[in-house]
Amino acid sequence: MTGSGRGAGGPDGPGGPGGRGGAPDPRGEAVDPDVDLHVPAQRAETRGRHGLTVVAVIGAGGALGALARHAMQVWLPSGGGETGFPWGVFSVNLLGCALIGVLMALVGEGGREERAHALARPFLGVGVLGGFTTFSTYAADVALLLEAGRPGVAVAYLGGTVLGAVAAVWAGASAARAALAPGRGSGPGGRRPDVGGGVR
């Protein structure tokens, strides 16, 4: 039951919240960190006044993320295929991927999504990190490098970003999950280390 009524027949898990009904359903945790309608709380988050707040904080985060990316592009410009490897956007994307891995471990997995602030994922994940990283600039730079007669750089950039991004998100998520895992010898079990300030 969504506000618009379009949800009938949509991805509503059987058996109500949690999708733990009769049918085997391996879902429950989000695959899509922006919004995953398999997660009941995220289905509901656009309802009413809270929905306006969610969209507003995503917009604010998107503005901040885009500004930070622009700063990196000004510092390390791609030059439209003429000046070689686009280190600015490359760095932005890998950094953003590492941080989304950390963020989702903190607020989107392992039951912590239920204790996290309702605006943490929308603001930091959808807004700031989603606005910071970019796919379109990346694809356009690959195309311009190809057109400029630099297929080697184009392929290195294309493949290097994908491999680096997946490695970065894995490393970020693994490190944060390990730090949060209960019953570790050194750390206080289950206590959330103060990495919130770094998740920007």
Binding site: D34, A66, L67, H70, S136, V166, V169
Partner: protein, 124 residues
């Protein structure tokens, strides 16, 4: 001035990604991240169009800052794309994870080239 335009574009692009993602997901009961795929390909098409128009002089630096760096940059995302790929792989759906990567790259690049051709045609 360009910084303000980038911020405004980003403030529109990120919510547009979120709302598009929801609108796509509500029509598909699939774990495959079609919503993110959609925004990344659509944003790449628009970015190609703007880049082509900029090269041929039809779009100035302010239009590029607002719609390219700001709107397209925030509408599309690499962080969401890579986290989805990781999650699919972790759920034992390696084939979907690989298809997400290969499909997004192929469709995104094709969209940029189409946009570039259209954008250059605008000023021709």
């Amino acid at each position: 001035m360009n910084w303000l335009l980038v911020a405004v574009g980003g403030a529109v692009g990120a919510p547009l990604r979120y709302l598009t993602d929801r609108a796509v997901q509500i029509r598909h009961d699939s774990l495959f991240p079609w919503g993110t795929f959609t925004v990344n390909v659509a944003g790449s098409l628009l970015m190609g169009l703007l880049t082509g128009a900029a090269v041929s002089g039809a779009a100035g630096p302010q239009v590029t800052a607002l719609l390219g760096t700001g709107l397209c940059g925030a509408l599309t995302t690499y962080s969401t794309f890579s986290y989805e790929t990781l999650r699919l792989a972790e759920k034992g759906r390696g084939l979907q994870a690989a298809a997400n990567v290969a499909g997004s790259l192929a469709a995104g690049l094709a969209a940029v080239f189409l946009g570039l051709a259209l954008g250059r045609g605008l000023a021709a």
